[in-house]
């Protein structure tokens, strides 16, 4: 039995109980929705214990430097300061990381990016901690920084690691080595560094425990992978490092890596006091990984009618200073980088490299977002060359169920590319601009345009994304489901460690329990490491994988309950089901009251029926290192977008007038939540096309604030027509297909295409800045 702290901090989540209706396929109200709107939702930054102290981080001002010395004396002498710790104070391995343990908890001899943590401070007030942090004297010997990914590939450049600068090079080879084609189109494309731009900064509270361990409350995406790294750094076994999810204010991949986790635990164990850490906005920009910037060179060959013959691509991702998930991003860029099209012949080289830029890792769309801008621009170029419409070229070449994709994997469930595009064609276009409503014009409320120089354009994009973890990763989730009587009522409770980051997993868990166990009230236990791993809340996988685990655990519970019912009532278990709090026969006859059955002391213990299930989707496999061939992915999710833009070509301003989409979701468990994911994802993709970029110059972030890092507001966001297809994937629970990422991939390329159509300019870089349009 593991110990838990006697008192939880204020702001730590408690049970979520709901008796509302809502089985799978019905709209279920989110328990966090109202609280977030009214400002009552407790985020990780709201965690509080009266006796807590505050931690802060001393960060490197240089992108690359040798640490000559660190003097903590003046900081430690500051009244109110409890501890100042450096790499020397890390008791376990000073190396953490998602895929490679290559990142120190605190820098030892070298700093590899600006903002890298060098020391940590705990004090009785956040301001005292900050002031003391400024007194930590670090002497640096500045080294030459590698801040250009292309240069990093050059063996002659500074090598940042003993193994060189390449994190991963993935080759995909299929068909002929040097195919020829009647029509050849090619282009280079560049994608800037997007930020997840979550509103809730990195934050958490570490509480030292009497057993010599620590309890960490933190906003994260994957409790168990955090736990593994914290244990390793602290030199403690898992039973002494207990993590609980606290309120997450957005994630989008940026919370998959550690931020303040180990730092707060180190300070808590050193001071024997609870330690809270909350990053400020600027620090947050340095405190999490970003979307990889990419440079890409593409060439497609086709028959005269536009039928693709071959695809060649070189994709280069700048991974920044540490590996994070660069390897898997390269995996996606390589195996999915040509888009959802039929290619007989393929030649791809996809690289991820170390530089001294800010580390890059997971972000919604994960390697597919960058590639989609290139392959979709090239499909438009091909359509123009062969004289067909952008929609027609995609319908002609889109993959179909049963096709073998570029890594030799059979696509063995729905691949409705043609239908998705046709749906967009059939949707009504927005009305011509009337000119009356300034809000409808580029510049919106700022009134920069009254219609002068405004040109309309329409663009299409068709993309796909793998769902779940790929390339042989043991991807599973654990669910503990209990059915018991509480207050005379049969109540299901469900406990998983799968992180709710705002995507709506809690309702999905409740809906599955209601559907499988026929009860109304479902209690969702707080997410923590007291149950097995739920895997990461990423890769659009939780409804699939944790949903699958909850379903399986419910089935195991139900089997026991129905077996017991069969003993009592004379029906066979196969003839029985659970519905409406009753045991019912297939005939519809109500056989038993479920609460009464569960209350039968001879059949069940007081705590009812509990089952814990570890559930896996069907396995994937590593791809061949020389050819990239293999069954790399478990599922593909398809989406298409049509963007309509008005562009003021004199000012370079863009107003997205409509952003319509069609997406196959397999089965919409909570249709309202599906719409929310598609609206949000579409907007985030549009943001990358138009404005979202962390501008990095010589390793320094030039715009670490939400004043200068632009994000679309509601006033910049267009109406969206959304058509959801539900072609069940026979391999997935309920036929679900991941929802969260696909719209982020297809929306941006559609916006870019629409701007190209409106302006006639090539626009081979995103975000498309106004001066790219005006040419000034």
């Amino acid at each position: 039995m593991t110990s838990i702290p006697l008192t939880s901090p204020q702001g730590a989540p408690s049970d979520t109980s709901s008796a509302a209706d809502g089985r799978i396929g019905e709209n279920a109200l989110r328990p966090d929705g109202t609280l977030k709107v009214t400002g009552e939702f407790a985020y990780a930054s709201d965690l509080w214990m009266d006796e807590m102290v505050w931690g802060t981080t001393v960060r490197s001002p240089h992108p690359h430097a040798r640490i000559v010395s660190i003097d903590i004396g003046p900081a430690l002498a500051t009244p109110g300061v409890y501890a100042v710790l450096t790499a020397e104070d890390v008791p376990g391995a000073n190396a953490v990381g998602l895929e490679h343990e290559d990142q120190p908890v605190l820098a030892e001899t070298v700093v590899r990016y600006k903002g890298e943590p060098v020391a940590i401070v705990a004090a009785d007030h956040p301001e005292i901690a900050r002031q003391a942090a400024k007194k930590v004297v670090v002497e640096y010997d500045v080294l030459e920084a590698v801040t250009d990914a292309r240069a990093a590939l050059d063996p002659a450049s500074v090598q940042l690691r003993p193994s060189g600068n390449v994190v991963r090079h993935l080759k995909v080879r299929k068909g002929e080595e040097l195919p020829t084609a009647a029509v050849v189109v090619s282009l280079d494309f560049e994608v800037g560094m997007q930020d997840q731009a979550f509103l809730g900064p990195e934050s958490g509270l570490a509480v030292p425990a009497e057993d010599g361990g620590v309890d960490l409350y933190v906003a994260t995406q994957w409790l168990h992978v955090d736990q593994r790294q914290v244990c390793s750094a602290l030199g403690l076994p898992p039973e002494k490092v207990r993590l609980s999810l606290s309120g997450v204010g957005g994630a989008f991949g940026g919370r998959e890596d550690l931020s303040m986790h180990v730092h707060a635990c180190l300070l808590a164990m050193h001071t024997n006091k609870p330690v809270k850490m909350v990053y400020n906005r600027e620090e947050s920009f340095y405190g999490h990984v970003h979307r990889h910037p990419a440079t890409m060179s593409y060439e497609f060959g086709a028959e005269p009618d536009g039928m693709l013959v071959y695809g060649r691509a070189e994709i280069l991702f700048d991974g920044g200073a540490y590996a994070s998930s660069t390897g898997a991003v390269v995996g996606n860029g390589g195996t999915l980088g040509l888009g959802p099209y039929r290619f007989p012949n393929v030649h791809i080289d996809c690289y991820g490299v170390y530089t001294n830029n800010p580390p890059c890792g997971a972000m919604r769309g994960f390697g597919c977002v960058q590639a989609a801008f290139a392959h979709e621009a090239l499909m438009d170029a091909l359509a123009e060359r062969v004289g067909v419409s952008p929609a027609a070229i995609r319908k002609l070449n889109g993959v179909r169920e049963g096709d073998v994709n570029i890594t030799g994997q059979v696509i063995d469930s729905a691949a409705p590319c043609e239908e998705l595009v046709q749906i967009l064609l059939d949707m009504p276009l927005p009305a011509e601009r009337s000119g009356a409503d300034l809000l409808s014009l580029p510049g919106g409320v700022a009134n920069s345009t009254h219609g002068e120089g405004v040109v309309r354009g329409v663009g299409y994009a068709l993309t796909y994304k793998n769902v779940g973890f790929s390339e042989g990763f043991d991807d599973y989730s654990t669910a503990r489901v209990r059915l018991q009587v509480i207050g005379g009522e049969a109540v299901a409770s469900v406990h998983t460690a799968a992180a709710e980051v705002g995507q709506g997993l809690i309702t999905v868990e409740q809906q599955i329990c209601r559907t499988e166990l026929g009860v109304g009230r479902v209690v969702v236990h707080p997410k923590n490491t007291q149950v097995g791993s739920g895997g990461s809340t990423s890769a659009s996988r939780q409804t699939y994988v944790t949903g699958g685990a909850v379903k399986a655990a419910c089935e195991a519970v139900r089997a026991r309950v129905l077996a017991a019912a069969a003993q009592v009532c004379g029906h066979t278990a196969d003839d029985l089901a659970l519905d409406g709090g009753k045991v019912v026969a297939r005939s519809g006859e109500v056989v038993l009251d479920l609460a009464e059955l569960l209350g039968d002391a001879e059949l069940f213990a007081d705590e009812g029926v509990e089952e814990t299930v570890e559930w896996r989707h069907r396995p994937t496999e590593a791809v061949d290192p020389e050819t990239g061939q293999g069954n790399a992915h478990v599922q593909y999710a398809f989406s298409a977008h049509r963007a309509v833009v008005d562009v003021d070509v004199d000012l370079g301003l863009v107003k997205v007038v409509a952003l319509d989409t069609a997406q196959d979701v397999g089965k919409a468990i909570n249709p309202d939540a599906v719409l929310g994911q598609i609206q949000g994802g579409s907007t985030q993709g549009m943001g990358l096309a138009l404005m979202e970029e962390i501008v990095v110059k010589d390793g320094h972030i030039m715009n670490p604030s939400f004043t200068d890092y632009l994000i679309p507001t509601i006033l910049d966001t267009p109406p969206m027509l959304i058509k959801i297809l539900e072609y069940a994937d026979p391999h997935a629970p309920y036929g679900v297909r991941g929802v969260g990422e696909p719209p982020t991939i297809s929306s941006g390329p559609a916006v870019a295409a629409a701007i190209r159509q409106a302006t006639g300019k090539a626009l081979r870089r995103v975000p498309i800045r106004p001066e790219h349009i005006t040419g000034t």
């Binding site: 700022a446 009134n447 920069s448 200068d708 507001t713 001066e771």
Partner: protein, 284 residues
Amino acid sequence: MIPSAFDYHAPTSLDEALTLLAQGGDDAKILAGGQSLIPVMRLRLAGPELLIDLGRIDGLRGIEDDGDAVRIGAMTPHHDIASSALLGEHAALLCAAARTVADPQVRHRGTFGGALVHADPAGDMPAPALVLGAEFVIAGAGGIRTVSATDFFEGLFTTAVGEDEILTHVRIPKHTGWGARYEKFTRVAQQWSIVAVAATVRAEGSAIAEARVGLTNMGSVPIRAESVEAALAGCALEEAAIARACASAAEGTDPPTDTNGDADYRRHLATVLATRAVLSAAGG
């Protein structure tokens, strides 16, 4: 972030405020709405030890007819300026610019005088005040003095208002019947101006009789595009002629290069926006 600790006073008279300001010296700051100051304090870019809130002093808020001018109290919020019928008649440019300031919340809390003394190069009120020939009434220990618009804006976030002085009123000479337009360029809604052009025009028949054109964020202080104004005098009310006259809008300016746009792009914007602003102000 939480600002560093500070004392707060809300005097009820101007004399009391001036006394507090004199006592506070370098460590004191005037709070005149706080829509710029408080964010700057939260970012720890400023850490005043004393805030003197002018919000409870009678007579600093309001818009009055003052003969050949309109007199605006320094503590008048942007919203009141944007919606003032009196200003709409006699200084429509101010209303147009005030309507583009940030969002409704900020327009109700932020003040005209606060924005002018803050003198943010990307702020929207300085350029209109400059081109309308505002007179700035400043109170200090030695009494009241008046500063002209051309002398008021001295540099980046710096005005003629001394550290021991308070701006109390601004007199805006009447431009009755002049058309006005404030063209503000931002990339997302409710942002600061990347570039903006303030234009007010008196038309006679089919020509422009007089025009005043000001530029926001094309340098460290608001700028009058004098060559444009000269070219517009007598200019026919037609697009091509106005565009020709506005072609020199960026002449002599030294706009910043930052992540929102480089200097060349800002010069381009100034030219396009000037043409649009003048056309619109002239009723085109």
